[in-house]
Symmetry: C2
Subunit: 136 residues, 2 copies
DNA sequence: ACAAGTATGCACCTTTTGGTAAGTGACTGA
DNA sequence: TCAGTCACTTACCAAAAGGTGCATACTTGT
């Protein structure tokens, strides 16, 4: 038999039989990795179509270069849609595509996990930072 | 009331009111970002406790340095447990902690999303690669 | 006339991340 | 005795990611 009666916890059902990516998880992570992408997705999922300047102010501390870059990648990945109104003081807004919306939904458990285990994660990162500082 | 009747799609419920991390999603992503971490999590979730050498062979193309490094970070983050049997040809194995197991579960939707949308993602990445190659 | 805001582009630099190759010490099999 | 295995460690280097700051063309407000 292949299954124990005392089945182990429901493992991540990756399917590592694909070209280029080792599994679905790998593919997904490549699409959302980028310092500001989670935040962008977050704001777009919450706020609907958002103008560039608004995003800029919402995602604190992001520079123009970075924000534009990440938006372009998200757009190229088919997760966000850019709408240029071709007005004369430029007006552009960004929103999630259906694909983007579905990804945002898949991200919910991760948000939840992060929030629930924030204490642990924060503690651990504080330790890492102190350790890294001591190394120099 | 705070909710529209025509509610927008269930957005990622980040809670951006925390120190250090902008939201739960942010925290989670920092913990799993790293070229080999998803794979490691994947194998540990599937296979239970795994010896170093086995992992090394399972996660193809990973170098010792990288594998050790990522394992150390995962251990420091409380996601995997390292067991050293202190035997004389060294014997060590790695397994998921309860926290690691819970994270693995939270990753399932991402795996699924990646698998379902693999076609899109693959296509888009192929385009990116071609574009990058043309740039040089 | 001049500053500020609009959405971006570009050049340059630093930081972070990943990769290669070698070495460690105690052991085992040929 | 000599190569190979075990689980690592270290030094060094390349590539990728991220950051700073300036420039654009046009408009609005002072």
């Amino acid at each position: 038999m292949t299954e124990d009666p005392a089945a182990p916890p429901p493992a991540p059902s990756c399917t590592p039989t694909l070209p280029g990516f080792t599994c679905g998880l790998d593919a997904t992570l490549r699409v959302i990795s980028g310092k500001w992408k989670p935040l962008i997705l977050y704001f777009l999922a919450q706020g609907g179509p958002t103008r560039y300047g608004e995003l800029r102010r919402a995602v604190r501390d992001v520079s123009d270069k970075m924000l534009i870059q990440q938006l372009k990648e998200l757009e190229a990945d088919g997760l966000v849609k850019r709408t240029d109104y071709r007005e004369i003081p430029p007006r552009v807004d960004y929103s999630l595509t259906p694909l983007g919306v579905s990804l945002a939904q898949a991200l919910v458990p991760l948000c939840t996990w992060g929030t629930e285990n924030m204490a642990e994660v924060t503690r651990v990162f504080a330790m890492r930072a102190r350790w890294a500082a001591g190394k120099e």
